[in-house]
Assembly symmetry: C2
Homo-oligomer: 113 residues x 2
DNA sequence: AATAATTCTAACTTTTTGGTAAGTACCTGA
DNA sequence: TCAGGTACTTACCAAAAAGTTAGAATTATT
């Protein structure tokens, strides 16, 4: 009769949850990824799609996403300027996460009033 | 020849991503859910499983999770105290999210050195 | 000449979040 | 009688995140 042993994988620096959240945890990060989705989105379109975000947070997050290689940025040398954002291959791989988030929210949290 | 119309669903108060993040967005929230998983975990076990969390944050998050009905708490009237946490039905429904988070982290972020 | 459109940038402040350290309660065993 | 184990609680402080406001660049339009 041996003591029941519990297999715990401690959440240290190799914790995949921690690693993913390191990229995605910002207040607006996943909402921006959700909005870009499989499309191309201009800066202004994103702003309208997420009405409550401030301009500062929007570009700050976009820059961070570009730096982390989740989002690709293409600026056209036009006046007025046109800048397009789309998900990179890596960014596209986060979509399943967002999908589950959407599913959970729709089925359990959103009031259908 | 009509202008290409873009169907954007603005992220307002009905945004499912926003709603889900409202419950799950804390720095430690998903890691705690990840650690509880389908098991029962005592307070001390969680502490050991997430070595870098402070006691304050751990109970604070656990209380919040209980309040939001994602986690169930059972305290035994023993000395020394024993308190068990497990996911509620609602909490279990967040596991697919965590799973995708784990998958993304493992496949793209964790260095296998 | 002034205005509008678009994509930012920068300085400053406020709010939120997280960390530290200490303490509480209760019984057991040395 | 005194440390040890367990699950917290509280008060205080620091750091991180986010919000506000203003402005800059460039060209077309009025």
């Amino acid at each position: 009769m041996e003591k029941k042993e519990k297999k715990i994988l401690p959440c240290d620096d190799n914790c995949p949850v921690k690693a993913s959240l390191g990229l995605l945890a910002g207040k607006w990060t996943m909402m921006i990824i959700f909005q870009i989705g499989n499309d191309v989105m201009r800066y202004g379109e994103l702003k309208r799609a997420i009405p409550s975000i401030s301009e500062k947070m929007l570009i700050q997050e976009l820059n961070m996403l570009v730096e982390n290689k989740l989002v690709n940025k293409k600026a056209y040398p036009e006046i007025p300027p046109r800048v397009e954002y789309r998900l990179t291959e890596l960014g596209l791989k986060t979509i399943p996460i967002i999908d589950k988030l959407v599913e959970f929210g729709k089925e359990n949290l959103i009031k259908l009033s």
